[in-house]
């Protein structure tokens, strides 16, 4: 399959802190790839650099055969890449529906927009019940649904999800992962960052293990689950 994204020697620096030391990875179309790593390993920084929220200090990012390394985030988004950031990025004063409409800002295919809106509401019936409610008043799980729904509404074919399970009750965690699977099956490429490494590895096709801003290991998700080192460091032993 074709590589939809290729990242080479990506470096991100915050003031004096070097968050990424030059990492490389790729994603093929239709894959779920997960990035796993300890706190501060640089997972979020990777996503932020890819989506243009932070500017890398060096390295290149190619998306759909275009160099997007220094493009601003709104232009990257328009290429069909959608980032659900850490903390969900709710626009709390806008209603659920407005949040969804907003995401279609740059779309011209109005008929498809309608259809997608229907799909999102079907996918997350809870959201359709809360259409007119301000996003800020949703519970944590509902906000997570809205964040993913919004990403779908952008019409993007590639989603970057940053810890979608954070702060969610176990029951919801399962639901979110099921949703991710479903989305993927519907044809979206997903780059997933997770602390919940076990579940992430079970969901993904391939995985990268990040440590101190560098790629420690990479490979098939299934293989990594059985890797003793990975098991020890990220899956909580045994």
């Amino acid at each position: 399959m074709a590589k939809i994204m290729e990242v080479e020697n990506l470096e991100v620096v915050y003031g004096v802190i070097k968050a990424l030391q030059g990492i490389s990875f790729y994603i093929e179309e239709g894959e779920i790839v997960t990035i796993i790593g300890a706190n501060g390993a640089g997972k979020s920084s990777t996503l932020r650099a890819v989506s243009g929220m932070v500017r890398p200090s060096s390295g290149t990012i190619r998306f759909k055969n275009k160099d997007i390394t220094n493009s601003p985030s709104h232009l990257i988004a328009r290429q069909g890449l959608s980032h659900v950031p850490e903390g969900r990025g709710m626009l709390t004063k806008l209603t659920v529906e407005e949040n969804l409409i907003l995401a279609t800002y740059n779309r011209k295919d109005h008929a498809k927009v309608k259809e997608d809106m229907g799909d999102v509401y079907k996918q997350f019936p809870r959201l359709s019940e809360r259409k007119k409610q301000a996003a800020g008043n949703l519970s944590g799980g509902e906000q997570q649904m809205l964040a993913i729904g919004r990403a779908l509404m952008t019409g993007a074919d590639t989603l970057l999800l940053d810890e979608p399970s954070m702060g969610l009750a176990p029951l919801f965690v399962k639901e979110i992962f099921a949703v991710i699977k479903r989305i993927n099956q519907a044809g979206k490429t997903v780059l997933l960052v997770e602390q919940n490494a076990m579940t992430a590895l079970h969901t993904a096709n391939r995985a990268y293990i990040l440590e101190n801003g560098a790629v420690l290991k990479s490979g098939k998700a299934g293989d990594l689950i059985d890797d003793p080192e990975v098991k020890n460091a990220y899956l909580g032993g045994h």
Binding site: G15, R55, N70
Partner: protein, 327 residues
């Protein structure tokens, strides 16, 4: 952290030297220069007092001029109507401004951010209008004080006040638990409260103390200038200048307000002298403020660091800027 650490011998010597220079000033310079120096001292004191509230605690007040004006009027009225001696009037003005601010602070400090800024501004305007309609303040006629025409006296009074405010800022805001409490309120008030800080009290104290110093300086100003008027001591320009001075110098630092006060006051006077025949100096003043903010966004206090060529140094910044612009 401790005081002993920040007092190296070099610093002590520097301190004594600058004190000697400051004390001998009246005997070497002309009386106009001395007058400017008196003005500088006054503004240093005012900027420092504003910085207690705006810098250390993060409550940006556009109404600090009200404290200045209230102090000026109280001292003035005590001296003209009750014939109190100057220092007595000054002390009472300080106490009354403190009490008044503590009372007003209680509701006002419920506001924060831009709302606090506009709330204090509205309050100050209200005070100006009040003084304009009251009889005992002289209304639009203003208030005349008995002239006491001794330049040296006022220079030393203002110098003393500036040093006092500086010392308080240094001892209580830079180097003490109290200062830490104030900064904690600025950073995260809810958390501070759950750590046992009575934040309402802390805020009120800072508000009242900083107002008190502005009030005392106002009182001294009234006696110095001998004539006060609602527009001159309660007008918005007083507070505006304090804010600009502090921002220009470096907000939340000890020396920033000092530097800002000197540069702005001297700059303003210089421009008045050089271009005072036309309103062009307003253009220059406005332009200067804009340019400083554009190129020294953290105030004049950041110059040494920028010249120092550290990571945030000017070259790094220029580089990163040019990188941004070719996207």
């Amino acid at each position: 952290m401790s005081i002993s650490k920040s007092f190296s011998p070099v610093k002590v010597i520097l301190l004594f030297l600058s004190m000697a220079v400051l004390c001998s000033l009246p005997f070497v310079v002309s009386s106009f220069v001395l007058r400017i120096a008196t003005g500088i001292m006054m503004w240093i004191g005012l900027a420092l007092s504003w910085n207690m509230l705006g810098g250390y605690m993060g409550y940006i007040s556009f109404g600090h001029g009200a404290s200045f004006g209230i102090g000026a009027y109280i001292a003035g009225m005590l001296m003209t109507q009750l014939h109190l001696p100057f220092f007595g009037a000054l002390a009472i003005a300080g106490i009354l401004t403190y009490v008044f601010a503590a009372l007003v602070g209680y509701p006002t400090l419920r506001l924060s951010g831009s709302y606090f800024a506009i709330g204090t501004w509205a309050f100050a305007e209200m005070m100006r209008q009040l003084v304009l309609v009251l009889e005992i303040t002289g209304g639009p006629e203003g208030l005349r004080l008995p002239p006491m025409l001794n330049d040296n006296f006022f220079y030393f009074v203002m110098l003393g006040l500036a040093l006092l405010v500086f010392l308080i800022a240094f001892l209580f805001f830079e180097n003490s638990d109290f200062g830490l409490k104030v900064k904690a309120v600025r950073e995260e008030e809810t958390a501070a409260r759950t750590l046992g800080l009575h934040t309402t009290w802390v805020k009120n104290q800072v508000f009242a103390i900083s107002s008190m110093f502005a009030g005392i300086i106002g009182g001294a100003f009234a006696y110095w200038i001998t004539f006060i008027h609602p527009d001159s001591v309660l007008g918005p320009l007083i507070a505006d200048q304090m804010v600009i001075m502090v921002l220009l110098g470096g907000i939340g630092t000890l020396f920033g307000p000092v530097l800002g006060a000197i540069v702005l006051y001297v700059g303003n006077q210089y421009m008045l002298v050089m271009w005072g025949q036309s309103s062009a100096y307003l253009i220059i003043l406005g332009l200067a403020i804009c340019l400083v903010i554009l190129f020294l966004p953290e105030g004049l206090m950041s110059i040494p660091r920028i010249l120092g060529g550290s990571r945030n140094g000017i070259f790094t910044r220029l580089l990163s800027r040019s990188k941004k612009s070719n996207i």
